[in-house]
Amino acid sequence: MKDIYILGIESSCDETSISIVKNGIECLSNVVSSQIDIHKNYGGVVPEIASREHIKNITVVLDECFQKANLTMSDIDAIAIAYGPGLIGSLLVGLEAAKTLSYLYNKPLIPVHHIAGHIYANSFVKPLSFPLLALIVSGGHTELVLMKDHFSFEKLGSTLDDAVGECYDKVARVIGLPYPGGPLLDKLAMEGTPTYKLPHPLDDESYNFSFSGLKSAVINLNHQFEQKKETLSPKNLAASFQKVVVETLIKKTKKALLDTKCKNLIVAGGVSANQGLRQAVLKLGEELGVEVSIPSLCYCTDNGAMVASAGYYAYQLGRRADLYLNSKSQEELK
């Protein structure tokens, strides 16, 4: 069978990333230009600054990607683009680049949903086997999705308010951690003990999540201590918060696994880099005899390789977009 090479372009937020992936599973180059150091100065991603950085970087990243893979555009079978959801100004730079290459070289254009990309980041662990349950945890998403086949997404539940990654960043700010606070909070949690009592949000039988109440509880607790002129232990607060978040995610994931009798669990999205969650998910897998897949750390954050991998399977299914493709800031997983 002929090898298929997919170019994947990702610019949804503050990373310009372009990759070439062979047959959906072998990453030949994955170039990521991160803007974290710039946005750090503002305590979060500034959309207009992100867009300005993307356009400065786009051809530089393209160049490096092809050099590393030692390939040229003529070797590429199709171009996969993360067209949404994300920051619209950021998405547009990747989109126009993908459309331009598709036009210049007359190569198929494959539209890829950003979260589908995160799911397919697990292809680099091993090819997905179905049915599988995907726990999607990122700055914009918290969802449980059942997949019976490639690109068949059945949403079982999702967050009713804040996404888990968003909650991590907000709580990190309360603790006084610099942006991006989520990974630092995780690290801090590993050093502390969960001594503070925090509510378990939406502790019900649904597959849904809610994190805004938990965030408020942390803010209130911090406030109470300030009024009493006592100091909270940041590492113990981090540990207490992390424990509740992980227990909530695991509880709903476990219920979904038991109800669907799924024997495969994958974790996807930026928060899958969280060490506390990674350990808990592996333990759950052992307990239930379920095979667990979590992307290696380099594929947890936004990257072009995951888009190229998803693009490969979408290509095989005949999914194509024409040059009228537009970016979407919001979009249902499909």
């Binding site: 356009i55 051809t59 126009e96 680049a97 459309k99 331009t100 970016s327």
Partner: protein, 205 residues
């Protein structure tokens, strides 16, 4: 020489293709929100209609602003990637420069509304930039321009109390004037916003 001209810095999509000394095809279309969707297909059709393939183009002349931040990036991304991929020459033209050169008046004041009493503007005598491209308070710019009266204001926006002519791009003149501008690396062909982001302004305040 075959030159591709592209300007997506306002809601008016402008593109032209120039071959053997004359514009052989052109497009002007008001796109508002659809710029990202339609810019590339429109450019493709313009070239196909005169049987010019991407590789036939020798040079890309692209407007790098000022204007709509998102708009500028659409045309600039297309131009940068095009020039990088097919190793074509690329040069940038200011949108104010394009507006000024399109008009025949001896002194021209091109203006783009930047809201809250501010404009992107410049003053040109032919190709010569008398007041440099900048982000100005409108009243300040008019004061500065006073000694060069009479001048012709060119704009696609309305400014109360000011008489202006609507911008009608003269592609032949724009391309003839700027086609020999020195080519730059596609990596360094970047937008010229003339204005910091609000976050940067706040931080520098």
């Amino acid at each position: 020489m075959t030159v591709l001209y592209l300007d997506t810095s306002s809601s008016l999509f402008c593109a032209a293709i120039y071959q053997n000394g004359k514009v052989v095809n052109q497009v002007q279309k008001n796109l508002e929100k659809d710029m990202s969707k339609e810019a590339l297909p429109l450019m493709k059709k313009m070239l196909e209609d005169v049987s010019i393939s991407p590789n036939d183009v020798d040079k890309i002349l692209v407007c790098n602003g000022p204007g709509s931040f998102t708009g500028i990036r659409i045309g600039m991304t297309i131009a940068k990637v095009y020039a990088w991929a097919l190793q074509k020459d690329i040069s940038v033209v200011s949108s104010l420069e394009a507006m000024a050169i399109s008009n025949d008046a001896p002194v021209v004041l091109p203006l783009i509304d930047a809201r809250r009493g501010y404009v992107y503007g410049a003053l040109y005598q032919g190709e010569k930039e008398i007041i440099s491209n900048g982000y100005y308070r409108l009243d300040y710019l008019l004061e500065q321009a006073k000694s060069y009266e009479p001048y012709q204001i060119i704009s696609n926006n309305d400014f109360p109390g000011l008489t202006k002519e609507t911008y009608r791009p003269n592609f032949q003149k724009i391309i003839e004037t700027y086609q020999n501008r020195e080519a730059i690396s596609p990596h360094l062909a970047n937008p010229c916003y003339l204005k910091q982001t609000e976050a940067e302004e706040k931080q520098n305040a």
